[in-house]
Symmetry: C2
Subunit: 136 residues, 2 copies
DNA sequence: TATTCAATGCAACCCAACTGCAAAGTTTAC
DNA sequence: GTAAACTTTGCAGTTGGGTTGCATTGAATA
């Protein structure tokens, strides 16, 4: 049993052929992945299967979703230890030139002083600008 | 000439009847406004006119847009001094219960140490959880 | 082997965002 | 004041990401 397969089993997700391919695809990317990216990368696969695979992966905390403001939801692999709780949150960077979105996993979200009685459970923090490639 | 009208002129936006009504509507809200909200609030107005009014207001920095992850873009009035630059950015709060989105105008975005050569131009920072009303 | 449940593929649907175009309204030129 | 030029508005339609119903296939269980 290879690494990809055991990752799925660890998260109690049945390792079907499709799911192994999708997870494999994620490990090969250095940027966040959209449903369209998956459709292009795994062209033999059906869109709704890929969609449901993403939802399954998200629920199982194999990936987390990113709303980068491009109108397309992106997904990226969670870190080994990630439980998608407050302490696991990090910033994301969306390049307005190449449209790529990256996890800044080393940049954790600071504690934020909310107004009285507000309760923070989640966050979607997206920095926009130029990535190293696009910023000459 | 009333206050609403002069606000538009200050930003070089021709104060048509429609625009005055939309800006009036904004001043009456304590939460961020969606296109659908405007359609409901100003039912006699056409959707695409309202849509284009929002775009005009956004370009003229009368309002700023918020991607709160609900799948619907929200808009809120800019502060008097706002130029929609880095120093004007603030956090937003999206209540996952009542679905309302609020500007936390007193909470400015801190400086963030980006990876080498990355350049920050904008940000969309959304905290999710329960607002004071929904958090008993 | 028969039964049951989960995953997949296909074909739609939904809906927010956006656009083309003609009509109405406003500004400018003469 | 009137005609031409430009802007705004209203209507109707398109686009595209996201989502769902349902039949089929495949895997697990009895
Ligand atoms: Mn991430
Ligand atoms: Mn705001
Ligand atoms: Zn880039
Ligand atoms: Zn609330």
């Amino acid at each position: 049993m290879n690494n990809i397969e055991s990752q799925l089993k660890d998260k109690s997700v049945k390792p079907t052929a499709m799911r192994l391919l999708v997870l494999q695809y994620f490990t090969e990317q250095s940027k966040a992945v959209s449903l369209k990216d998956l459709e292009n990368g795994l062209s033999y696969a059906d869109k709704s299967t890929l969609f449901r695979t993403l939802k399954t992966f998200e629920e199982s905390k194999i990936v987390h979703s990113i709303e980068d403001g491009s109108g397309v939801t992106k997904y990226a692999l969670c870190l080994e230890s990630c439980n998608c709780e407050l302490q696991d949150l990090h910033y994301h960077f969306h390049c307005t030139n190449c449209e790529n979105t990256f996890c800044l996993t080393t940049l954790n979200i600071p504690t934020i002083e909310l107004p009285t009685n507000f309760k923070m459970n989640q966050a979607n923090m997206v920095i926009k600008g130029l990535c190293a490639n696009c910023n000459e």
